[in-house]
Amino acid sequence: MTSVVAIILGVTLLSGPLFPGVTLATEPEPVALETGNVTVSAVELSEDVTLEKGSYGAASYYLDTPPVRVQFANRTGRPTLIYELTIEELGYTRTTNHFLDDSTGDTYTLTLASDTFTDGEIEREQYNGTVTVSKRDGSGHGVVAMRNVTISVVE
């Protein structure tokens, strides 16, 4: 027991300025984003976007956007993929950035963060929206795919 205490206290002492050579707690290294190159060969966009009344008795409507599957023809460095949904009639835009790196495989699933709308905001049974997938990499910004979708309100 004493030795365990000694190890714990010893390691703690090592972490301080008394031992400048030792760094135990390190900030994550800042990574250079939007580098390299990405070419998307195929995009699977589902059009099944819904505004669903909160389940389990929760208030408000939850925006449920299906994930988009993309296939890469080529991917190097740390490019960013951006999934965006715009519903002009509601004055609403939501984007979610996905940061890719070497651990990303040949395909990738893009998700969009969910959002809520109050009961007062939802007045119609369906809305028109636009789904956009774009990329940012070493060669700049480019739209990968864009599609008009119908967002149906589900009570």
């Binding site: 027991m1 205490v5 714990i8 301080g16 300025p17 707690a25 390190t26 408000s60 939850y62 969910s114």
Partner: protein, 637 residues
């Protein structure tokens, strides 16, 4: 002095030292199991600790502590948060002041300790080491209770492994925010004494086994751990209420302790706790100031003027820090920040207008009683302003009763089912993230087990010559305070930023105490304690995974997640309530009841874990790097 002499003297002192150690041990934890409860609780709270602000109100405390640590009572600089005008801050003579000064002052030494630590070691590693040492101490304690050394050695290896894991994953902790950490640590340590004293109370009233099991129900089955590291009054209130109940019990039983040899001392201590608590949150202290004597004086053996005067003096002394702080801030002894505010409502946020209302009452008293009474005017003025808080409290309690009659829907949403109720939404009015009392702690439904007990209860033919036993006195205090807290906040609930009905926080320990006292619950828990613990563990480990999958598959946002947990909680509460109503504990019925109690406790624990790891991860700012990593890994919606 030679070395031999020195050692000789040290030897002579050893019994004294070990006596002191024993005394401190006995005073704080009662016995070895009490220490084990404390360590287990601290380890759990450490796991869930996030070094960030959950709620705006805490900015006020952190800035207050920052100023105080620089020798200033008034807040000088908004080091934390958007500015000095944060919820709960009050303005006097053009300067902003914090509140809850009791805990702010108590956190001062910890700021110093943390600053010192930060100077010599990396703060993150230091706190990880402290947590690991607490875990190691817990392993040693557990090793004491089990045969064989495998717990000890296995545990020690596990502690080292976890320490290594945490150090590997560690990122530096911002050493400039020690005021926040100090406040969190103070609250966490105070909160850890809720289950400890709860254990001590119930192990005295009943058995140590029941005491321990009740501490498990309280810690895992109610939102105690969620609020433990949040710099708000709630965890403190819970501990104070349980401590008062404990002192009340000891003051009604023959003194047998080594340190306190007179029961009157415990009685005085109960009142002193109320006085000291006023320094943290005056309105709730005021409520306790009414419920405690209401139960204590009619049931005490000795109410001679001398005894009462002695208690009065101690109570007055315990109020001194509160009075001095108020005098320094507002110039009035009874007007703490936030007690008497604008609209006459206890605890509303219109603190800036407090100067007006309190001041006018004082002057109104002296001007109205002119003429003959002029010499007495200051006294009358003081009396009148002293009565004012009591009148306000009375008003709040009455409006609590009115709410029961006039807005039964609100009461339903606050206590039973939050759902999509407007009042239970968050600030933006979109997410249903404020659970009801029962959804936060479904075990509390076991309180309905009081109904069959009351039905069978036969009142003694003569009440006059009957003195209540100590446990009945504590029951009476728990019931009175329970009702008092309900009425005090009834008119304001449901409300945003409650998460788990935090205003009603004292109801969690009081409620658990009350239902554990019911013979059916008590007997079932004690008879089938292994079954109970296995059910809690099973619900958390297996039920927890099922819940994670359910959330991941069916939930799109935090409101839906909270309501899923709410329904699971109510789902576990309904059968438990039916069992409690049956009032049976023999044979199969007792086993069923135990399983239902364990399930309801486990369901609340799963909510607690997922809330701290996922829903309110506060930017994955967990103190322990391994919890941060878990939070980063887990993305459910």
């Amino acid at each position: 002095m030679t070395a031999t002499e020195f050692v000789g003297r040290l030897r002579q002192r050893t019994p004294v030292l070990s006596n002191t150690r024993e005394t401190v041990y006995a005073v704080l934890f009662g016995d070895r199991l009490g220490l084990t409860v404390f360590l287990a609780t601290v380890v759990l709270f450490g796991l869930l600790w996030r070094t960030a602000f959950l709620i705006n109100d805490s900015y006020t405390l952190a800035n207050g502590l920052y100023s105080l640590s620089n020798g200033q009572l008034a807040m000088t600089e908004a080091v934390y948060g958007p500015g000095l005008e944060t919820p709960g801050a009050s303005r006097y003579d053009g300067q902003w002041y914090a509140r809850n000064y009791g805990v702010v002052v108590l956190s001062l030494p910890l700021v110093l300790v943390l600053d010192l630590l930060a100077a010599v070691v990396e703060l993150r590693i230091a706190l990880v080491a402290l947590w690991s040492l607490a875990l190691l101490a817990l392993v040693v304690e557990c090793g004491y209770y089990t045969d064989g050394d495998w717990v000890l050695y296995g545990g020690a290896v596990a502690v080292l492994g976890l320490f290594g894991l945490n150090v590997t994953l560690a990122q530096p902790l911002d050493a400039g925010r020690t005021h926040l950490y100090a406040l969190q640590l103070t609250h966490l340590l105070i909160a850890a004494f809720t289950p400890v004293v709860f254990y001590r109370l119930l192990s005295r009233v009943h058995t140590r086994r029941l005491g321990l099991l009740s501490a498990v129900v309280l810690t895992a089955g109610t939102p105690l751990a969620f609020w433990a590291s949040v710099p708000k009054r709630h965890a403190v209130t819970g501990t104070v209420v349980v401590c008062i109940a404990y002192c009340l019990y000891r003051s009604h039983t023959p003194a047998d302790g080594a340190v306190i040899t007179q029961r009157q001392t415990f009685r005085a201590l109960a009142y002193a706790l109320v006085g000291v608590y006023a320094w943290v949150h005056a309105p709730e202290a005021l409520l306790l100031c009414v419920t405690l004597p209401l139960v204590d004086i009619p049931t005490a053996r000795d109410n001679s003027p001398r005894t009462l005067a002695r208690i009065g003096v101690i109570f007055a002394l315990s109020l001194l820090p509160f009075i001095i702080t108020n005098l320094a801030i507002s110039g009035s002894p009874i007007k703490p920040p936030r007690l008497v505010s604008g609209g006459g409502s206890l605890g509303s946020n219109a603190a800036s207008s407090a100067g007006g209302s309190g001041g006018s009452s004082g002057s109104g008293g002296s001007s109205g009683s002119g003429g003959l009474l002029t010499p007495l005017a200051p006294l009358l003025g003081t009396l009148e302003s002293g009565m004012q808080p009591l009148l306000l409290l009375g008003g709040e309690l009455v409006s609590g009763i009115e709410t029961l009659q006039q807005q039964p829907n609100d009461v339903y949403h606050a206590f039973v089912r939050s759902g999509s109720a407007g009042g239970a939404l968050d600030n933006t009015g979109e997410e249903s993230v404020n659970l009801s009392l029962l959804e936060s702690a479904p075990v509390l439904v076991a309180m309905v087990g009081a109904l069959p007990v009351i039905r069978r209860l036969r009142l003694p033919s003569s009440m006059a010559d009957r003195t209540l036993s100590a446990d009945r006195v504590v029951d009476a205090f728990a019931i009175t305070t329970f009702v008092g807290v309900v009425l005090l906040y009834n008119s304001r609930l449901p409300l945003h930023a409650q998460v788990t009905a935090r205003y009603l926080f004292p109801l969690y320990p009081l409620g658990v105490y009350l239902f554990v006292r019911l013979p059916a619950v008590r007997k079932s828990l004690t008879d089938h304690w292994r079954l109970f613990l296995w059910t809690v563990a099973g619900t958390v480990l297996i039920g927890g995974q099922v819940t994670v999958v359910l959330v991941a598959v069916t939930v799109n946002g935090i409101g839906e997640a909270f309501q899923l947990h709410a329904l699971l909680a109510l789902g576990s509460a309904v059968p438990l309530g039916i069992w409690a109503l049956s009032g049976r504990s023999k044979g199969r019925a007792g086993q069923i009841g135990t399983v239902l109690l364990g399930a309801a406790t486990g369901v609340a624990a799963v909510f607690l874990l997922l809330t701290t790891v996922e829903y309110y991860a506060l930017g994955d700012t967990h103190l322990l790097p391994m919890m941060r990593a878990l939070g980063e890994l887990l993305t459910l919606y």
